[in-house]
Subunit: 346 residues, 3 copies
């Protein structure tokens, strides 16, 4: 993360109204929390509760809300802005562009590309990548080392695959899809029929279809459909170690946090949010805009536009109330026993 | 999934009693749900509740139960059968055989095979595969790109390894075992002794033993035993992102759904079923035929042949009853408080 | 695990007080449980409840507590010790050293090392490894096949990476760190801002920092920080399939069991223990020495030095009490209804 941004580059990017103090270093060398910031770093303050941290911070450049009462120390530059979080994100984007230099186009000589595969000349195929028969890789794609792209897969333009990603055959992904390291898309769905004391495999001849602008976190798995596709809708963001079963439909612009699990054939609408380790059993529907708290698991259909908690999922407010009351169960038992004694006495 | 089956090939495979209508296309080009089916596709109807979907379906060939009241549209062929689900699975198997053409035998030149390893000439070793000293790979095995097969591993005949699978040294797997992409078998068990303020590693010198006809889902992990083997019994099927700790014994013909976790030294009998994200703590026994619902976690021994729910696991019926009652806790508190008031008044 | 230890090698290692009987084989050929042991194997007995197993065991060498009443059979050697578990661990260590012969130093010719990377000549780089620009690999490191070490990564001396491990750019790991197969360190944190109906990515320009003597289990994922590092403290041990979110700080000498999940920006103190599938939501602090039982999830700050259970986490004793009482809820409802009837009658 050793970068170097001139003050001009920073000022060009950030939407500030006024400034105070002056930058005591030649260049901005990073972004950090107030606590972690060293000389040269930029940081930000969004709320008055961090003003104490600000006093102790080594940050050379601080992006802060207009209304906060604070003064720069010598060699410290303050930029006053409307929304510090958004402005610092712009700075991170600038840093990000310097850090992640796009690798040169071309195919590494230590790779294994089927002669019938079509790889756009502007794509970058790193070492130890396998691309199967009839697969297509779009313009500007970056395929990191160790990836496996099976036969008949299709990748739209400007996709990024981290290292050791596996796309099983027939997987189709849209444009600007980011798939992090270790992800497996298109492994067989989990389907068996019990016959004569053994589990006989039900063939899984479907595929996986991923829309534009989807991001999928490290080591997540998405199974291929039994016959139709398993679908991840446009703009959805999926965190690490998530499991998506066969024939599932994830709608558009969903947020699925880490360790979520969705069992087979379940349908999620658009703008669904599932917190960490939330889940859904198979063959159910979760309506658009539903929000499941962390650890919440839907065992039956959930209406959209509402918040849920618990397993099985119930409305969040009811769940929170029950959680509080559950802790009072020992008291409840005592009170009940007390009443019984009293009645017996009477 | 672009396939093409002649009507004769389909009729040879499916066990139908009568047919109605006629096929309006030259060949069957896929299998799909009623909803997804396009012209050329085969589909199936197993229950009257899908008859409305059937009316709107584009499917050219429909496999349906004898007793369902429906008539084919022009260009649509109905095959009447006893069990539509089983018959369509046969068709999928046929498609599957066309799709997954077995790759040619031989060892890719961009692979790293120890000279002391024994690879059967009928096996297919894809690119970027490493096979360690003394390892043996049986007849007809397919080892996909990026796999690592450590020293002294043994693979029986006709095994399939997806891409980027890791078998640590000494792992022994039987015949016809299917291991999906990203799986790790034989990583160190999690064992430490606390000594002088530090966790000292307990060496893990056991191995992993996998029986015939086992299937293991993507990114699942199975640790090697402390000294003896961790065992997965014949015919057991394990889904994605499952964790099996060291010294565990999974019996024969188990079903372990996605995100299940089994802690060290626990023993599962035969025909155990564990739903999604079910679990078992360490050093316990779960009897043959026990069925744990999704999210159910065993904290102590469970008798076989029964169904369980909850964490800690209790009999499923009791768990369901408690789940329902728990939701009435606010009401319970109100009623109790009411009673107390009444008694005070008296 | 085919090894062969002379009796002298064994006796040199084990701290025994007396012995009984004599070894009926030339060499000790392995370590096994009493049940699994075959002729030639060593085993151990730590408690009287295993004396029946001992009678049936084929073990040739048995390490057992001084006070246990048992006699060796012909060809069986007993070594009497203070702590059989610790003594057998020493024997396992000896076996481990024979099994895991350190591979020869050097860089495999089928690897892809950036010319600006610095790899110590005593390190072993196996086949199909990628090392990026400016990365440094310390003395004595073993990097197994298929690993990806991104630009600007740093590995201290004597680290071990299993197969197909991914270290994204800027990841810094200390000395003697063991990272098992399939692990991903430094993938993007999960951060988005919702704008105009879409989730806009918040750039993740931080890194991952791993202290000395850390061990990380198979297929575990640790995200890079938003700007600062995600930290894993010295001596901490992390099991398989664990998720650590961005900006998390894991303190020193923690134990995180399999399937644990820690959401972003949470801080764990030192000597924290989290059982299987325990968890913590984001932006909270868990004090040093806190112990979370399996499945326990912290939704708010937890004080150190105490034991917790449940989700949301509460003190373990209270949780256990509530768990027991919850099972009596049907009875509670009956008793309450009974009281109500009685009062109505009065």
């Amino acid at each position: 993360m050793q970068i170097s941004l001139s003050l001009n580059a920073v000022l060009d990017r950030i939407d500030y109204s006024t400034f105070e103090g002056e930058l005591g270093v030649r260049n901005v060398t990073g972004v950090a929390s107030l606590e972690d910031a060293q000389r040269g770093d930029a940081s930000f303050v969004a709320s008055a509760k961090y003003l104490e941290d600000l006093k102790k911070s080594e940050a050379s450049l601080v992006v802060l809300s207009k209304d906060l009462e604070a003064e720069p120390r010598p060699g410290q530059l303050f930029l006053r802005v409307d929304n510090p979080s958004i402005e610092i994100a712009k700075l991170c984007e600038l840093i990000s562009q310097r850090m992640w230099v796009k690798p040169e186009a071309g195919i590494h000589q230590l790779s294994s590309i089927d002669p019938t595969a079509e790889v756009d000349p502007s794509a970058c195929i790193e070492a130890f990548v396998t691309i199967g028969a009839g697969a297509r890789v779009g313009a500007g794609c970056v395929i990191s080392s160790g990836c496996f792209i099976g036969p008949a897969c299709e990748l739209g333009d400007d996709c990024y695959l981290g290292a050791n990603v596996t796309l099983e055959r027939d997987t189709v992904i849209g444009k600007r899809v980011r798939i992090h390291s270790g992800v497996v898309l298109g492994s067989d769905g989990f389907g068996y029929e019990f016959e004569g004391g053994r589990h006989r495999k039900v063939p899984q001849v479907g595929s996986v279809f991923v829309g534009d602008d989807v991001e999928i976190g490290a080591n997540t798995t998405v199974d291929r459909g039994r016959f139709g596709p398993t679908r991840i809708g446009e703009g959805s963001k999926i965190d690490n170690l998530v499991q998506i079963g066969h024939n599932v439909t994830v709608g558009k612009h969903n947020i699925l946090c880490a360790q979520v699990g969705i069992a087979g054939s379940t349908k999620l609408g658009d703008y669904v949010v599932m917190g960490g380790r939330a889940g859904a059993s198979g063959h159910i529907e979760i309506g658009s805009g539903a929000q499941l708290a962390g650890q919440c698991v839907a065992f039956s259909d959930l209406e959209g536009g509402a918040k849920y908690g618990g397993a099985p999922a119930i409305p969040l407010v009811a769940y929170q109330r029950i959680t509080v009351i559950t802790r009072r169960l020992p008291e409840l038992f005592k009170r009940l026993t007390q009443l019984e004694k009293q009645l017996l006495r009477d």
